[in-house]
């Protein structure tokens, strides 16, 4: 393991984050506050409790997941796509490092950023609604697993993308709908039976449900199923990364 190189990549990626710190920090704070104003105060006041939890509090885990997933993907995919775009990828290819080290450096930095933003949103939420976390360890575990998995997934998208349009395509067409329809803002039990069944094919449901369980002890699916789902997703991403590493797909001619 070339730890010096991993640190160099990680530090350089984090530096990009800190260069635009106000933007990185303020945008999740502002958007979360807006969600609370709209869903929590305006609409939420007309909704009774969901599963015994006030609506404002109920949406907190979903909001955090929404941001963590999209941030993890966008940071990691942009992080590795940008060197491809500017051509500086030649450095990564000619350096005495292997692909695994590149993944740790780049996806690690992206996961860290997502984790930071998730924490900021959690803090912001505490200003608006009453918060309780029944299983803090499980919450932290879920948060970290999600950050890492989606950073890996973003990394794969960044390697795959041949232009900026493709870079936005998967997050826009796949991730955002899955997250919005995955129970960020509602309980699956609120849907008609047929949609409940369809929703079970949405992998994001398991993540949000499990994460919400760590807060309130209520879930749409059993917590172990949720852990299994995120574990499976992470496994798939790791396998894809290993395959890319093995074949040099879309990086080394």
């Amino acid at each position: 393991m070339n730890l010096t190189a991993i640190r160099a990549m990680y530090v350089s990626e984090m530096a990009r984050f800190f260069r635009t710190f106000m933007q990185s920090f303020l945008s999740p704070v502002i958007s979360t506050s807006l969600y609370f104003v709209v869903f929590g105060a305006a609409i939420g006041s007309r909704i009774d409790e969901v599963e015994g939890v006030s609506y404002g509090s109920f949406i907190v885990p979903g909001l955090i997941m929404l941001s963590v997933m999209t941030q993890g993907i966008s940071n990691a995919s942009f992080g590795i796509y940008f060197p491809k775009f500017t051509g500086t990828i030649y450095e990564l290819l000619s350096a005495p490092i292997n692909f695994l080290e590149v993944v740790i450096g780049f996806a690690g930095a992206a996961a860290t950023k997502a984790l930071f933003i998730g924490t900021v949103i959690l803090g912001t939420s505490a200003l608006f609604v009453e918060m309780e976390v029944q299983h803090p360890l499980v919450m932290v575990l879920f948060l970290i697993l999600t950050c890492v998995s989606f950073a890996l997934f973003g990394f794969i998208i960044g390697i795959w993308a041949k232009n900026f349009e493709q870079l936005q395509l998967i997050p826009l067409l796949v991730i955002t709908p899955l997250v919005f329809l995955g129970g960020s803002f509602y309980s699956i039990n609120m849907l008609p039976p047929i949609w409940q069944t369809i929703t079970m094919f949405n992998p994001v449901v398991y993540l949000i449900s499990g994460f919400r369980w760590s807060f309130f002890g209520v879930a749409d699916v059993p917590i172990l199923t949720s852990l299994l789902a995120i574990g499976l997703f992470q496994g798939l991403c790791l396998f894809a990364v290993w395959w890319i590493f093995k074949t040099g797909w879309r990086i080394r001619k």
């Binding site: 070339n2 190189a5 160099a8 060197p83 030649y90 000619s94 350096a95 490092i97 080394r252 001619k253």
Partner: protein, 312 residues
Amino acid sequence: MTDILTLEGVEKTYDSGFIALHGVDLTLKEGEILALLGPNGAGKTTLISCICGTVMPTGGKITVGGFDALTNFRKARSLVGLVPQEIHLEPFSRVWDTVRYTRGLFGKKHDDAHLERVLKDLSLWDKRDSRVVELSGGMKRRVLIAKALSHEPRILFLDEPTAGVDVDLRKEMWEVVAKLKASGVSIVLTTHYIEEAEAMADRIGVINGGRLALIEEKDALMSRLGRKSLKIDLETPVDVIPDTLSSYNLKRADDGFALVYEYEAGASRTGITRLLADLRDAGLCMNDLSTRQSSLEEIFVSLVQSEQEERA
């Protein structure tokens, strides 16, 4: 001198089926400058890319400083610095940060004194806090060199270091390369400017169509393949070259006011003495004599042409 780089039968076939390299053998001696000459698309960049790891060779063996470039890539690559042909730099990073980043990427511990030396040698020290996007084209190119030197490589690859660069800057780049050589770094540079190879290289390799057409000491190459021409200025013009001079294959020049005789520069008998005597016997009055050695450019063009004819 020991060999620091050896290539044995290196081949590259791209996915499209295009064969960029047909089994190239090459050695680089420690401390020398090797220039690889060739027209566009000859395989120069592919060859360099195979050595540096940005392109996977499909056959052959590459050894850098005794380490196999594939199986022992960490040790092999840490000896190599690459300056790419295009200016590939992250536009918003600062000079100091980007140079420091490369050193880290190559697994070297921080050594700010070394980086300071590199930047000063390349006249970039004053610009260390500038963003790349604020620099001129020549400075960006020097930043690329600084990055490549940041991890103290023993071989530096310069892929067309002066492509699209003005004359002043080109001369400046030559000085930089001369300095690097003096510091003990071995250098491989590709170019299609022959004067560049002539000015800098110890040895010259000619690549064409993915094959190494020849590789030789520059001076030996010049004298082996170099032809000289003798230009004889005449007092009165000749319309027809006299029959007595037909064996010399003279050419008329300057509307008959001059005759040109070509001969091998390295030949033991050039025939000049006899030619001058025959000219006098033919009644031609000479005003002036001048000789000229053909440049590498001409050598190169004739090499490429003869190879194309061979294949045709």
